[in-house]
Homo-oligomer: 155 residues x 3
């Protein structure tokens, strides 16, 4: 019998696991950032969330949108839109037997670009900082998709 | 040759597969809940969706937002934001050879917390029901991420 | 030692890898479609994005929403909501040792339905084109979930 834990003896797969865990943890941090801004700025989307701040009409004034909260939410959604393809394509790429140093270069660039994207979005830094970070992550994922389809296309 | 189906002989991996399938099916149910509220309340986002309810100006009145529909959509997005990290981190955690009972405890807590989160969001139940459900799922994912990085960090 | 690349010797898994890479690449194309419409129609969500089009009050007029941009964003979010379950359930289904031709039929239907969904959403085609495309993809994912739970439920 083959134990799945033997997958973890493969260096490319271990590297993928480590970088993926880091970038997903970073994405989860966006949830706490949203919660932080919602609580400190008293900006809520649901009536039950601000029930503790007052009754009736008094509580309704907290049901609004706020630039800062919307910014964090856009950054979070952009993370989702880009990390999901990395997760799927990266996993299959890792299993397709790529060169270790090439694979690690891809993972490092992607994770670095996404962390920089978050910093550029939340600070906010002037463009094209955020656009550049976005396109590096995008390019890395496409590069993995290209190598994957080239080495093992089966339709 | 190693058959991937042998992965399925591993109990942790089989448990991960079962719980993940359940929680993803639950997330897909949110799409039908949105469609249900859109149709019963006649609330649409696209002109072509309400073409059957009238012509021209008569149809445009259905292009609006509705508290109930927005609530389901927020619950769906929160699912996406939390189930994607569980999917990625949980898969890698399952392959890292964890203790069976510890792994199953993680999966059960996560799936239970997400189902309770949906109930708390859609009823809606007063806070901190939803916040608690959110943080249990969040904590379970971080616990798996921590064990994964501790056992097999490779940067 | 077992190399993970041996997974790629399995035909079902290779087919899953190919179709998933295609559907995820299609989803990533939605980001460029959004960027294209934002730039050609000068519709932005962040002040720093339209700083190049003017200073102060002159730039603020570009911070607005646009039907075309919102339509692409809804199509993108719908992709995320449906491709994430396909990614998770499809991966586990591929590893559960299904019949090759059945598996490929599932993958082809899903990828075809999602491409048609995007065409129907962005053109836009009259309903029920988009609804049909949505439900085919939805049904394929549930069919895989059902077979997966039937063959290897472990709770």
């Amino acid at each position: 019998m083959v134990s799945p834990s033997q997958l973890m003896e493969n260096q490319v797969f271990m590297a993928f696991a480590s970088y993926t865990t880091i970038v997903l943890s970073k994405m989860m941090f966006m949830s706490t950032a949203t919660a932080f801004y919602r609580l400190t700025r008293k900006v809520f989307a649901n009536p039950e969330d601000c029930a503790g701040f007052g009754k009736g009409e008094n509580a309704k004034k907290y049901l609004r949108t706020d630039d800062r909260v919307e910014r964090v939410r856009r950054a979070h959604l952009n993370d989702l839109e880009n990390i999901v393809p990395f997760l799927g394509i990266g996993l299959l790429y890792s299993l397709s037997g790529p060169d270790l140093s090439t694979a690690i270069l891809h993972f490092r660039l992607f994770v670095g670009a996404r962390i920089y994207h978050t910093i550029a979005y939340l600070t906010p830094l002037p463009q094209p900082n955020r656009a550049l970070a976005f396109f590096i992550g995008y390019g890395v994922t496409f590069s993995m998709a290209y190598r994957l389809l080239k080495s093992s296309l089966y339709l």
